[in-house]
Structure formats: structure tokens, C-alpha cells
């Protein structure tokens, strides 16, 4: 596997990562002072290891100049003498249910009920630095850190009890928030053991934790920890935050995509009562006592814009294949084209030779449209300045990244900016950046009171970044006996994730070619893996059909990875693969892996020949992400990923022409709805012998190619574009 290269590339291109201008270490004692008496266990992460893993802090900026601390705080657990157990992590909850799964991990090791744990998350003033919640990293990296801290806390509490009772610690055990002396009724609550002292322990990466086959809390269904607040409407999202005297903001947006402001007249807006208007470069915004007044004020502003280049989707796929792409002029020379061409996997021998050895040869092109994340909660922020300090409540996957954006924008040191992320109305990779936070803070500074900015749906569709569009060119050859003799795979622009071909092939070459995107692009759940899996699995299916071999048999013949074979077989078995579909119906199968997880999906489609509409009537996904942490929430993720994947597969595409996004609303951009929902079955393969991998992303990658092959099965026409709009 080429994970290190892969991770590097994705960060470079897709995580919208820029090194901060400066960074300093706040005094840890200061950071933790507010915690009060009790036992504090700090989980340290080895900086070198974590840089190799996920490149924290300054990225390529280099060292910290004389810094002697080799380890960073990753998370901490505090057991207060008031009985509260507080767990602090910089990770953000965006619907993936890590608030629950991380609490399970701590509860497991501390031997306390999940409900007794309070998770403090994604607050730059109250949680340790974290690079961001993406890349399926929470479960494989944050969860073990918290487990180690909780296990160390448990052992420290046993030590305290042994000392107090003057007994051997082997006589003691821990249960239900107490240390208990075995065979007696002697027990003492955790909170009583610290006796008003503030005790601190640190725990390193080497500490031992409970193996998955002995889990009693993890591995079992645990309800969403604060589910009650969500079903009663009580949960306060960033867009629901209200502050005393708060005003509402609107930002003036250009009518076209890359326009620059040439002149603006704010006088009509400024003449309104209880309205403040500001211009700062191209940024024009108003704030008013009510959202309604803000809308009226923004509408009263007269502005002239110089349109940008007339970008259009008409020539997109030709442009993306050309070096230089369809580049907006202001981005020229800004390094959008770093790492121009990357080959992954072995360039073994000659593709031409492999093609000569084939009985059937193919050269196909697949295209991938831009799509939007369209999180149901749009970007939103409430910004408040108090005595030169800035506090921002916002929905983001990168609280510390947004803090850096704010530090840069307002030239503030770290201790003057606080970013608080309430559990967010989803992100799907779309909320890595802090536009709304910066905009709200800019106008709030002008108004001198708290200001709320909630992007409209149209702003979400036009101002956020998109999943990259792409062109994928495949050359492949196959012999009648099912041997793949050549595999050449070029991805233009959409990305290198999932580029590798897991099938045994005689000659192989895969490459990613960066291009210049006319639209702003960035992370999306599973990155380019969805695009690359679509093209690869569609092509594999075509090879199988060409030689008259069953697509499942063909895959099993050429796959070497046992876990991939296992999910494929599990999905096929539950689906009942091998039965012939009825008329105007078809079945398809696809398999893949990403972020340490393995997914196979089977789909059955029904085609309406009068309208061309494709209805996925049934889908089965088999998923292996190592040891299962929470089967209910995992099933929910797998189902959700499948549904979200159906959007990109069948209906979603950003339309742009004349320099404008043409479909910036839900009435023109169809996301999956109830009507599109197939009967879904999920098969979880619980590998207690394998580390738990993150599960939010991987299950999205196999549905599109499974549907594509099912459409082929029904119609005889192979879809080669996402979204697929078969002509029937």
C-alpha cells in the first residue's frame, strides 16, 4: 500500500492546508488550570510519529526553534473530586457519532457507565490542539489515545486505593466508578481518592489497553450520547447560538464566479436605522438588528463587478486533461499545480506488451462531475469581540485551522482567539475552512457587538468548495482465461485516493495528473476514491463481461487481498448473487478499500424505459473496518454513505456556464430523497483481531460502480460518467 504518498498528496491538494504564520505553545499549566482538584491524565503523542501520520501544526514549516518538548498533548481525562469525568479532545462531532464512540472507549477502560462521561470537544480554549476531523483518523488515532489515558487513570486510582488501605494492588479491582477490594465489601468512589489534591499523570503511546476481544462497552450498540437534545430540538448548533445584543449579518456576493469589485455605494444601506455596512477590499457586508433588515440593507447596496473568466462546463473535461486546465487568472502562479504528476504503484514493464498479450483490449474514458457537499446546516458563525479577544462559534471540522485563519485575518496571537464548535449539522469533508467565521468576525468588529452570519443555501452552493471533477482514462487488456494482461489508469484532476489497482495484473501503471480547476475544489468524503473506484470497477466489470465470465468470479480470480475477497463474498451471499434479474432490471457488484476499511456493494436497479429514470431497488453492503466499535452507529454510517453515494452516482452535478453556477438550489440540484432509498442490508464483518479503522468514508466508494454495472446488466449500455444518466 502506498499510504504515506497518498496521505501527502491529499493534504497537499485537498485539505486546504496552509502553514500558519506563527504558532506558540501556550503554557500547559495555564491551559489546564481551570480543571480544579482531581486526577488528570494527559495523553501524550509522539510528535514525530504524529507528523508522519497526519502532519500536525506547521506542516512543512520545519521545527519549533529550540523547542525541547518532543511530545504533544493529544487528549486528556480529568476525574474531578466532584465526581465528574471530563474527557477533552479537539475532534469535532459532525454526525459521525464520535462523541459516543470515544465515550465508549473511555468508559471501557475506566469501568464506568458511558453516561457518566462528559465529552468536551472541539473548543480551542478547552481542548488540546487537533489538526482536524477528517481522513477517518478519529477511530484509529484519537480513540487509542483516550483508551490509554483512561487505562492509566484506572491504574492510578488503584494505586491510590492500595496506598490508602495499605494493601497489595493485586487485591483490588475497579467497577462502576469505584475501587473495590476483592472478596470484601470494601469500596471507595473515584472522587474520594484524590482528597482535594490535583494529581497529574502522563501517559505515552506505549501504555497497554484492553484488546478488542475483551471489550464489554465498545463493540456493543450504545445510543447516541446526547440523542435526547437532537430529537427535542434542544441542541444548539452554531447557527442556533444567540448572544446578548446580537445582530445579524449578510455579505454582498458577486453575480459571477470569479468577479472583482470595481465600485460600491453603501450610502443607502448606511442611511437605514440600526444598520452597519462595511467595505474592506472585495468584502462588503452589513449587519442589522434583524436578519430581515440585513437582507434589506444588502439589497440596497449598489455595486459594480468586473466579471471573471467566463468559465463553462462545456469544455471542462477536455480542459482538465490539458496542463494548465481552465485556470482562473487570479490563481495563476499560486501553486495550485504542485506535484504535477504522480505515479503510484509499480510501473512494471511495458503496457504495450501487456496489451499485445490480451485477447480483448479496451481504451475507455470516464468523467466525474463537480458535486457539492450541501450539508443541511449551511456554514454559520457567531462572532463576538470582548476586550480585543475574539470568540467564534462555528460549524467546522477544523476548529484549530479556523482559529489560524482568524489569527491571520485579524493579526491576533493565539490566546486572543477562541473557536468553539457545537456539534455540527454535518460536513462530509465540506467544512474544513472558516469563511463564515472570518466574515462574521470582520463585520462584528465593525459593529462592536456579537454578530451571526448564516450562509444561505445559494451561498453554500456557490461559495463553498466542491468535490473535484475529473477525467479518468483507462487502458486494459484481458485474456479469455481471465488473466488481466495490462492495466493503465490515469486520473486527471479528481485526485489520487484509491488510484491503486488491487487486481493481479501482468503490466500495470497508474498515475494522477493535477490540473487547474475552474471551480474551487477541496475535500469530500473519501476524496477521489469514489471516482477512481467507479472507473476501475466499471472497467473490471467490462473485462469480465467481455470474456463471458461472471463479474464476481472474475474479481475473486484476480484479487489477492483476503479481506477484500471476504467482503465481496459476504455481500454476494447476502444479496443472492447469481440470480437473473427481471426485465428492465439489472444487478451489479463492486468492491474496494480505503482508509483501512474494506467494502463490497451489490445493487439491483429498475429502469423506467419511458423516462430513463434509474431506481435502485435493493442494495447490500458488506463492510470490514476491523474491530467494530458501535454496531448500530456503524450500520447507520454504512447506510448513509450508500445513500450519499447514490447522489453522486445518479443525480448530483454542479452546472456552470457563463461564469456562473447554474443550479445553486435544492430544486435544481437533486440530492437523494426518500423516494431514492433502496432496501438496504448491511453486513458487518467484525474483525476483533484487526485495529478499528475509521468508517465514515470508505462505505461510499462501491455503490456507484455497483449501480453502473447494474445499469449495464439491464440495458447493455455501460455508463461512463458520474452522474450516470443512461440513454434508454
Amino acid at each position: 500500500m502506498s499510504t504515506p504518498i497518498d496521505a501527502e498528496l491529499e493534504i497537499e491538494r485537498y485539505e486546504l492546508r496552509e502553514a500558519p504564520l506563527y504558532h506558540f505553545e501556550p503554557d500547559r499549566r495555564d491551559f489546564l488550570r481551570t480543571l480544579g482538584a482531581g486526577l488528570l491524565v494527559v495523553a501524550l503523542v509522539d510528535r514525530e510519529a504524529s507528523e508522519a501520520d497526519a502532519q500536525p501544526r506547521g506542516g512543512r514549516r520545519g521545527g519549533f526553534g529550540g523547542e525541547s518538548v518532543p511530545q504533544d498533548v493529544g487528549a486528556w481525562i480529568h476525574i474531578g473530586d466532584d465526581g465528574r469525568i471530563e474527557v477533552s479532545t479537539g475532534k469535532a462531532e459532525v454526525g459521525q457519532n464520535i462523541r459516543t464512540s470515544l465515550a465508549q472507549a473511555v468508559a471501557e477502560e475506566l469501568r464506568v457507565p458511558v453516561g457518566s462521561i462528559r465529552m468536551v470537544m472541539a473548543d480551542t480554549a478547552r481542548t488540546p490542539y487537533d489538526r482536524g476531523t477528517f481522513g477517518s483518523r478519529t477511530t484509529p488515532t484519537m480513540s487509542p489515545q483516550l483508551r490509554r489515558a483512561a487505562a492509566a487513570a484506572r491504574e492510578a486510582l488503584v494505586d491510590l486505593a492500595a496506598e490508602r488501605w495499605k494493601v497489595d494492588r493485586a487485591e483490588l479491582t475497579v467497577a462502576e466508578g469505584s475501587v473495590v477490594r476483592k472478596g470484601t465489601n470494601q469500596s471507595i468512589r473515584f472522587r474520594e481518592l484524590t482528597e482535594g489534591r490535583s494529581l497529574t499523570r502522563t501517559v505515552s503511546e506505549s501504555a497497554s489497553i484492553t484488546p478488542a476481544d475483551q471489550w464489554k462497552v465498545s463493540g456493543h450498540p450504545t445510543p447516541k450520547v446526547d440523542g435526547h437534545a437532537f430529537v427535542t430540538g434542544a441542541h444548539i448548533y452554531a447557527s442556533d447560538v444567540r448572544r446578548p445584543g446580537m445582530w445579524y449579518a449578510k455579505v454582498l456576493r458577486s453575480p459571477t464566479y470569479h468577479a472583482t469589485l470595481t465600485s460600491v455605494d453603501l450610502s443607502a444601506a448606511k442611511a437605514m436605522t440600526d444598520v452597519v455596512a462595511v467595505r474592506d477590499g472585495d468584502f462588503v457586508a452589513v449587519a442589522a438588528r434583524s436578519e430581515r433588515q440585513a437582507e434589506q440593507a444588502i439589497a440596497a447596496i449598489r455595486a459594480e463587478w468586473k466579471p471573471g473568466p467566463s468559465i463553462s462546463e462545456k469544455t471542462l473535461f477536455d480542459d482538465l486533461k490539458r496542463p494548465g486546465g481552465q485556470q482562473p487568472p487570479e490563481r495563476a502562479g499560486r501553486g495550485g499545480n504542485r506535484g504535477n504528476q504522480v505515479g503510484l504503484g509499480e510501473a512494471s514493464g511495458s503496457i504495450a506488451e501487456g496489451m499485445r498479450a490480451a485477447d480483448f483490449r479496451f481504451e475507455q474514458t470516464y468523467t466525474i462531475a463537480y458535486i457539492a457537499h450541501a450539508p443541511l446546516e449551511p456554514r454559520a458563525a457567531v462572532a463576538e469581540w470582548t476586550e480585543g479577544k475574539l470568540t467564534v462559534w462555528t460549524g467546522t471540522q477544523r476548529p484549530f485551522g479556523v482559529r489560524e485563519e482568524l489569527m491571520r485575518a485579524f493579526r491576533l496571537p493565539e490566546d486572543r482567539v477562541r473557536v468553539i464548535v457545537p456539534d455540527t449539522g454535518s460536513g462530509y469533508g465540506g467544512k474544513h475552512s472558516g469563511e463564515a467565521a472570518v466574515e462574521a468576525a470582520r463585520i462584528a468588529r465593525e459593529v462592536g457587538r456579537a454578530v451571526k452570519l448564516v450562509w444561505t443555501r445559494e451561498e453554500e452552493f456557490t461559495r463553498a468548495y466542491f468535490r473535484p471533477a475529473g477525467v479518468i482514462e483507462v487502458r486494459a487488456g484481458v485474456r479469455k482465461d481471465g488473466t488481466i494482461t495490462a492495466w493503465e489508469f490515469h486520473n486527471h484532476n479528481s485526485g489520487p485516493s484509491g488510484l491503486e489497482c488491487p487486481y493481479r495484473t501482468a503490466e500495470k501503471r497508474v498515475a494522477f495528473h493535477a490540473s487547474n480547476s475552474p471551480l474551487r475544489q477541496g475535500s469530500y468524503r473519501a476524496l477521489a476514491s469514489t471516482a477512481n473506484h467507479f472507473a476501475r470497477e466499471s472497467q473490471i466489470d467490462e473485462l469480465a463481461r467481455a470474456i463471458g465470465m461472471d463479474p464476481l468470479t472474475f474479481r475473486l480470480k484476480n484479487l489477492t487481498d483476503d479481506r477484500m475477497r471476504a467482503v465481496l463474498e459476504a455481500a454476494a451471499k447476502t444479496f443472492g448473487w447469481g440470480r437473473k434479474a427481471g426485465s428492465d432490471r439489472g444487478v451489479g457488484i463492486a468492491v474496494g478499500s480505503e482508509k483501512g476499511g474494506y467494502i463490497a456493494t451489490c445493487a439491483e436497479v429498475a429502469i423506467d424505459r419511458s423516462t430513463g429514470r434509474v431506481q435502485v431497488v435493493r442494495a447490500v453492503s458488506a463492510f470490514d473496518c476491523g474491530a467494530v466499535v458501535n454496531p448500530t452507529h456503524l450500520e447507520n454510517q454504512v447506510e448513509g454513505a450508500l445513500i450519499q453515494g447514490l447522489g453522486g452516482a445518479l443525480s448530483e452535478a454542479i452546472a456552470f456556464d457563463d461564469g456562473k453556477i447554474q443550479n445553486p438550489k435544492f430544486s435544481k440540484y437533486r440530492v437523494p430523497r426518500f423516494r431514492d432509498t433502496p432496501e438496504i442490508e448491511v453486513v458487518l464483518i467484525d474483525r476483533k483481531d484487526q485495529p478499528s479503522a475509521g468508517a465514515g468514508e470508505t462505505p461510499i466508494v462501491a455503490i456507484a460502480p455497483a449501480v453502473g454495472s447494474a445499469i449495464f446488466d439491464a440495458t447493455g449500455v455501460r455508463p461512463r460518467s458520474m452522474p450516470m444518466r443512461p440513454k434508454v
Binding site: P223, V231, F666
Partner: protein
């Protein structure tokens, strides 16, 4: 110009002074602090802002305050009574029918109107009724299950 409006929200009489063409959604969230009802699209195409008006589901982002009059408005905050969850709220928790939860208020409020009209809806009837409500996390299958669980809970309660 702002006019006084006497509204009935969640069983209580409420007086607000707002323009008559302001949308109900903004008045609920901004003026009354009832933030359980969400903004999702502003064009009535996602259902996040669903409330009941005289028991009928309505898109509060497209409903002008002047058109509400003295009719009874029910929001997600008004569904549970005296701290007891509505059967749908219990069922959504039981079926784990949410991820980020942002669509949940609108889903539950819309589904409550469905159950009032049809105490035992089939999958097809649920799909038909709720097709205007978007869940971007894709929990539709679980929401369908939750509504059927709630229907059972209500039947049990009626016995």
C-alpha cells in the same frame, strides 16, 4: 412597518411586533428563540423548517407571519409534553434514525402530521409523505423504521 401579531405557538398566546411579510421561520428562531426549527434552503424544498399549522405540515421558511393569523402553530419544542417524549421522538432514538440531527426536527414534526392522518402508514405512504424532507446523512431507511415503531408505540398506548 412592524405590526402587532397575536400568535398561538405550542399552546401559548404570543405577541410579536414584526412586518406581516416576515417569514414564520425567522420569527420563531430570532424573535421567539425557538431554534429547534431549522433553516435549510429557504425555498421549501428540504423540510428542515417544517412546523404544524392547525395540525397540517407547513414550510415555515415560506409562510408569512401575516398568513398565520390565529391558527395554532406547533414546533418541535411543542411536541413533547411535560418532559415526556412524543412516541416519534422515542422511536427516532430507538431506531437511531439520525446522524447529525439537523433534519430531525423537521422529520419528526412532518411525521407527526402523517401519523395523525394515518396511524399505520406503509413504507410507500411514508416515502410519499416525506419525500420533501431531506436527510443529507442518508438515514431515510431508519426514519421509515422509526415512524413504523412510533405507530406501534401509539397503538400500544391506545390499548
Amino acid at each position: 412597518m412592524p405590526d402587532p401579531h397575536e400568535l398561538k405557538i405550542n399552546g401559548k398566546a404570543v405577541r410579536v411586533e414584526v412586518d406581516r411579510d416576515r417569514m414564520l421561520l425567522g420569527v420563531l428562531r430570532e424573535d421567539l428563540g425557538l431554534t429547534g426549527t431549522k433553516y435549510g434552503c429557504g425555498e421549501g424544498r428540504c423540510g428542515a423548517c417544517t412546523v404544524l399549522i392547525d395540525g397540517q405540515p407547513a414550510r415555515s421558511c415560506r409562510t408569512k407571519i401575516g398568513a398565520v393569523g390565529s391558527r395554532e402553530v406547533t414546533t418541535i419544542e411543542g411536541l413533547s409534553t411535560g418532559g415526556v417524549l412524543h412516541p416519534l421522538q422515542r422511536a427516532f432514538l430507538e431506531a437511531d434514525a439520525l446522524q447529525c440531527g439537523y433534519c430531525t426536527s423537521g422529520m419528526i414534526v412532518a411525521a407527526s402530521a402523517l401519523l395523525r392522518r394515518n396511524p399505520d402508514p406503509s413504507r410507500e405512504e411514508i416515502v410519499e409523505f416525506l419525500d420533501g424532507n431531506i436527510c443529507r446523512c442518508g438515514t431515510y431507511q431508519r426514519i421509515i423504521r422509526a415512524i413504523r415503531v412510533a405507530a406501534e408505540l401509539r397503538k400500544e398506548a391506545a390499548r
